[in-house]
């Protein structure tokens, strides 16, 4: 049981999907986000990176996903993918890599709560991170 004083609101959670052509580590995560590792505000993205790593609940090689034209692909739970995401996964499959699915929660700390409720996507030549709200 949690006891909260002050302004009380509902909890939020959101899912994210990462298409990774290589192993994701802190340095590569920072590069994807667009921030230098020695930035004076690196602690914010260190907290985000930690939340993402903790939040991953499903990880698999793109080759192991099976039939991508199946209307529902299981990431440990059924999740319907949009045509946009299916296209991105199919494109990534040609060059290999893996997919990571996970969730963020607003209950952990203020950093994770911010990224949980923010809506964004980030992409470079090695990774695609979909943190958009309920659109895939």
């Amino acid at each position: 049981m949690k006891i909260r004083s002050g302004f009380v609101t509902n909890s939020s959670s959101t899912s994210f999907l990462i298409i990774a052509k290589e192993e994701l580590d802190r340095e590569k995560f920072f590069d994807l986000m667009g921030i230098a590792p020695d930035s004076p505000i690196s602690d914010l993205f260190d907290a985000f990176y930690g939340a993402v790593i903790r939040g991953v609940s499903f990880q698999a090689s793109l080759d192991d996903l099976g039939d991508l034209d199946d209307p529902e692909i299981s990431f440990g739970r059924h999740a319907a993918l949009s045509d946009y995401m299916l296209t991105k996964i199919k494109e990534a499959r040609e060059s290999g890599g893996q997919i990571l699915y996970g969730t963020l929660s607003s209950e952990e700390d203020t950093f994770e709560a911010f990224f949980c409720t923010d809506s964004f996507e980030a992409e470079n030549e090695h990774f695609y991170f979909n943190g958009l709200n309920c659109v895939w």
Binding site: L32, M33, G34, I35, A36, D38, S39, P40, I41, L44, F45, T110, F111, A113, F114, T117, D118, F120, E121, A122
Partner: protein
């Protein structure tokens, strides 16, 4: 630069009074944060920049332009018009002469609350050369 946490007028939420030593443009803010333009991190900082430098009210300018005649002193203006405490008003007034602007700022990002938010903004807005 000084940052004072305050309760905003008529709003039961915490805000900040930012006493700036210099103006900073958005490109400079990104350079100080070592953030690349066009990225997600830059988008976050861009929103913070606009909230501070576009949407916040410069209460020092407002006092000088509209309220000096009525309130006479800046600390009296802060206390009677903005409902700051006597202590808050005196502290802010004490640094007003050396401040190029004094902004009444309401942070929109949840991670900018409390002491961490003040520290974060000081790291971003501290004049070049300061440690």
């Amino acid at each position: 630069m000084e940052i004072f946490p305050v309760t905003l007028e008529y709003e039961w939420e915490q805000g900040l009074i930012l006493c700036l030593d210099e103006f900073v443009d958005e490109d400079e803010l990104l350079r100080r944060a070592n953030v690349k333009k066009g990225t997600y991190a830059a988008g976050i900082l861009s929103k913070i920049y606009r909230n501070i430098f576009v949407h916040s009210v410069d209460i020092k300018y407002e006092f000088e332009k509209y309220y000096r005649l009525e309130y006479k002193t800046f600390d009296r203006y802060l206390e009677r018009r903005l409902f700051l405490t006597a202590e808050e008003s005196a502290s802010i007034a004490a640094v007003s002469d050396k401040s190029v602007a004094i902004l009444r700022y309401k942070p929109h990002q949840s991670f900018l609350s409390d002491e961490y938010g003040i520290d974060f903004l000081q790291r971003l807005l501290m004049p070049k050369g300061d440690t």
